[in-house]
């Protein structure tokens, strides 16, 4: 036996009311002085003899009648078959993808749907069997054929669930259900999910057996407004930037609704404070990218936030990205005593920049107050300590590459160093391809040195509209100089970049100019022309300084772990001066902070939150050091917007669901209750209980007449 409204079982206690009334009336009895005590005693004696059991039966009938009525309200029902605890198997399938959080004002679909699921769960009998199948990226049985102990325990299990950044596939869920319950006559399935087209995709491919006929309730709380914009990506042009140097942030916004959106505002916040906003208009399914150049006045960890206005699904309206701002980048140029010419190395070329940074105006004040590149050179074999002191090491044809140097550079990059390879005319193709290639430090193998006459017509220039790397994308406008004015008369033709290398900047003919080979930590950036001023005009062009800074920033970005992290990916922090660190904690999104134990790696001492964050948002690492204030480092955890599309399912999928699978769609409790009653009507026998109660009431009245 089971009861569909077990809450009414509490009303069985009302059966004590006749007994309480009996006791109360007895306590509040009327006091009467009585003369005919002889008759009274004769009557009492007779009552005791004849009606003693009648009195007990009278009270018992009253008690039982009330209890029967209460029991009828609890809606008792019989199992489909008498198999002990295995009567009806209740299966709850819950889609925990975040699209369930959509909804207007009062409550989300998740809240409304879980309320309905909770109410139906409270109607299950104590000995019923139930299962809970959670549907996300990793579908699993949270409860597999468990026995219902108390409604509270069942509700607690359900309430422990919450939406996550996942997507669901109902087709896979039904395949699982069909496999698990091939004979589903006694199975009652409650599916909580929305009518999202992406979730119900491929339902037509599910092979539903003809005799598979469980009772299926599809809890689908309605959604009136489906307009949903989402911030899909926020990226800085580089992970590291210099103080007061502009750094570009790119914000991608997508319209996931089936209707165009006009003038939606995208806000950009710098360190939580409003910075700028922009209106965008998007066609259905269109994604756009806006950017802003930000300047940070102080070094340290910073973050930027992009958000769109509230819509049908607020969950995907915000995204964050972290950035490390440095006071300086330290460049070390490797030279060779055998090459002492003016154009034999990048040194002279970079020294121009160094001198620019040191300009003093007529008031003896430095003209350049931004973050600087500090420059040093060495012609000796660099020891690891010297390499480690540099953010960027520059290697060009001015330095003879030896196997030992290649190995040192490999270790340097593996430890997070930034290597800038400037392939000038002095580079030995074979040596570089051999040594750097085997050390996996060469983004693209060199093929052929091309040399044209200086000032002649055959030159190469840089393309303004083919920026694949974000760090150089600032040159797509001439604000920092018209980069297409660059002229190269000597360059290297290269083979295709070695994966995962990528091209940051092309020549105007499409050949690569700057190719980057990113590592997990560490970074190699190669230019296919020299930076030594030989047969190019870079040093005399207005974009010279910005170009060098941006290339440096890109090369130095490998020195830190990324500040934009995918969902559930490790969040790591490389600790400088690890001996002074007292402790590191990780603060995930909407969760308690976690104390981390730093470990030694090739990159030095690293604190790592390996589980990462299960939710998109701003996370941080807090590092406490001896004798200094604790410093927080911010990371933007960015999940893919895989469940933002609220487009409703197509007609065919709905037909398949409601006709082939015979699922009953319920939107609120009234419709759910109606469907439940319809399905359970044949099993319910509360009307018999009511009849029994009425019979007992009639019996009680008849019995009462014997006394009065």
């Amino acid at each position: 036996m089971l009861v569909y409204n077990p809450a009414f079982l509490w009303a069985l206690l009302l059966g004590s009311v006749p007994i309480l009334i009996y006791l109360l009336m007895r306590y509040r009895s009327l006091k009467v002085r009585w003369g005919s005590n002889y008759v009274l005693e004769r009557a009492i004696e007779k009552l005791k003899k004849k009606r003693y059991w009648d009195q007990i039966l009278l009270i018992a009938l009253r008690v039982l009648a009330i209890m029967a009525i209460a029991f009828a309200f609890a809606r008792p029902a019989s199992h489909a078959k008498d198999a002990g605890v295995s009567g009806v198997h209740h299966v709850v399938v819950i889609d925990t993808s975040y699209s369930l959080l959509s909804g207007q004002r009062d409550a989300s679909r998740w809240q409304r749907g879980m309320e309905l699921v909770g109410r139906v769960a409270s109607t299950w009998g104590r000995s019923d069997v139930w299962s809970l199948y959670v549907l996300d990226d990793n579908p699993r049985w949270v409860v597999d054929s468990g026995v219902v102990t108390t409604p509270e325990a069942t509700l607690a299990t359900l309430q422990a669930l919450e939406p996550t950044e996942t997507s669901a596939s109902l087709a896979k869920a039904f395949e699982t259900l069909i496999a698990k319950f091939p004979d589903a006559s006694d199975v009652e399935i409650t599916v909580l999910t929305d009518d999202q087209e992406t979730a119900w995709k491929n339902l037509d491919r599910v092979n539903v057996p003809a005799n598979w006929s469980p009772t299926i309730y599809w809890v689908n709380p309605p959604l009136d407004d489906r307009v949903n914009l989402a911030v899909t990506r926020v990226r800085f042009s580089a992970e590291r930037a210099l103080v007061k140097h502009p750094v570009r942030v790119f914000v991608s916004v997508k319209n996931f609704s089936a209707d165009p959106v006009r003038d939606a505002e995208v806000e950009i916040l710098r360190d939580g404070a409003f910075f700028d906003k922009e209106s965008v208009s998007l066609l259905p399914g269109q994604e756009t990218e806006i950017h802003r150049d930000l300047v940070f006045d102080d070094d340290g960890s910073h973050y930027v936030t992009a958000r769109v206005a509230s819509d049908a699904l607020d969950y995907d309206n915000v995204m964050h990205a972290g950035l490390q701002v440095e006071p300086t980048f330290r460049l070390l140029v490797l030279r060779d005593g055998a090459h002492a010419g003016k154009f034999d190395s990048s040194w002279r070329f970079l020294d121009v920049l160094h001198r620019v940074q040191e300009y003093i105006n007529e008031f003896d004040e430095p003209v350049f107050s931004h973050g600087k590149l500090t420059l040093s050179q060495t012609d000796a074999d660099p020891d690891p300590a010297l390499l480690a002191s540099a953010d960027i090491v520059v290697l060009d044809g001015g330095r003879t590459l030896t196997p030992e140097l290649a190995e040192q550079l490999r270790r340097y990059v593996a430890a997070g160093g930034g290597l800038l390879l400037a392939a000038d005319q002095n580079v030995s193709k074979e040596t570089w391809n051999d040594l750097l290639g085997s050390a996996k430090l060469l983004p693209a193998p060199l093929e052929r040195l091309r040399t044209e006459k200086g000032g002649g017509p055959r030159f190469r220039t840089l393309a303004r509209s083919k920026f694949e790397g974000l760090s150089l994308k600032a040159f797509d406008t001439p604000e920092e100089g018209e980069i297409s004015n660059a002229l190269f008369y000597v360059w290297w033709d290269t083979a295709a970049p070695t994966p995962p290398a990528r091209i940051l900047l092309n020549y105007d003919d499409g050949a690569p100019f700057a190719v980057q080979l990113p590592n997990e930590l560490g970074n190699v950036l190669m230019t296919t022309a020299g930076l030594n001023g030989w047969w190019n005009n870079l040093v005399v062009r207005e974009f010279y300084v910005p170009l060098v800074f941006r290339l440096s920033s890109e090369a130095a970005s490998g020195g830190i772990f990324p500040r934009v992290v995918p969902l559930r990916s490790p969040v790591r922090l490389r600790l400088s001066d690890p001996e002074t660190v007292r402790g590191v904690t990780f603060q995930p999104v909407d969760a308690e902070s976690v104390v981390l134990q730093p470990t030694d790696t090739a990159a030095g001492r690293v604190a790592s939150a390996n589980e990462g964050s299960a939710k998109s948002g701003l996370v941080s690492m807090l590092t406490a050091r001896e004798g200094g204030a604790a410093k927080r480092v911010y990371y933007g955890v960015q999940g893919e917007r895989m469940d933002s599309d609220l487009t409703p399912m197509g007609r065919e999928a709905r037909r398949r669901l409601t006709e082939d699978l015979r699922a009953v769609e319920v939107a609120d409790w009234d419709s759910f209750d109606e469907a439940l009653q319809r399905a359970r009507a044949s099993r319910e026998w509360h009307h018999w209980v009511i009849l029994l109660a009425l019979g007992m009431l009639v019996g009680e009245k008849l019995l009462e007449r014997r006394f009065v």
């Binding site: 009336m25 009895s29 009327l30 006091k31 005919s36 005590n37 007779k46 009552l47 006394f707």
Partner: protein
Amino acid sequence: MAERSRNAALLDDVLTPSAKDALRHLELYARRMVEGLLHGAHRSKRKGYGDNFDHHKNYQPGDPLKHIDWKVSARHDRYYVKRYLERTALRVRIVVDRSGSMLQRTGELPTKYLQAARTAAALAYLILRQGDSVGLTLTSLERTTWLPVRSVNTHLVAILQALANTEPVAQDGLQTCLRTIVDRTEPKGLIAVVSDMMYDPAPVQRELGRLQAQGHEVLLLQLRDPTEEDFPFNRWVQFHDLENAGVKHRLDAAILKRIYREEYQALIQEWEAWAKKYNVHFVSFRTEEHVETVLSQYIAFREEIFGK
């Protein structure tokens, strides 16, 4: 003066002027022949010269000539004298139950005892007014008051005072009282018992039977309280016994109602059956009825049956 006026008020309460008026022209006849020292209105077994012819006897010298039945003497040629049943005075003892249960009353209605007292007073008034003699016994287990049987009119005042100044107390002592009357072998007459009869009838009926056997006429006057009879309770009630302090019964009266009513009527019917069996007049009335009305009806009934 104040004492006298209070006494007068008390007496008026027991024997109201309206009762007097109502009873003024009534006469209580004896059902049986009575023995009396005084000539009165009732037939006696003693022979004498009255209205009721009994038989003829031979004339004896000294017999009054006016009693010679000349017609019979002429037919038989001998003198015959008519003999009549002599009428003597009626002797009545009124026994009033003064047990605690007689204090029962319903609302503004008089208590059973007050109605019993009024009945006794009306009877005494009636009997004394017609020249017969009456005595009074107020009985309870604790104390019984005896007033002798007298025919003087001043005796009414004593009776009224005794009735008015008595408070019902304690348990019923009617059986003992009747036994005393049996043992005293009083001259034959009417024993009128005024009571609620709410006790075990068997012992009392046994004593009443003995009185009848001694030649007394027994008249039973039962007083019924409406509440006692109707038992109008539909809830839990704690009944405190008026005769036995401390005895109480707490019960759901609604459940008991039917049985109680049955038992109550059964007790009355038991008395009625007994009375019918032993040819005893049994008059039962409720305290809401007027005593003079009840007595008038009874006397009319009695007159109808027995005639003068």
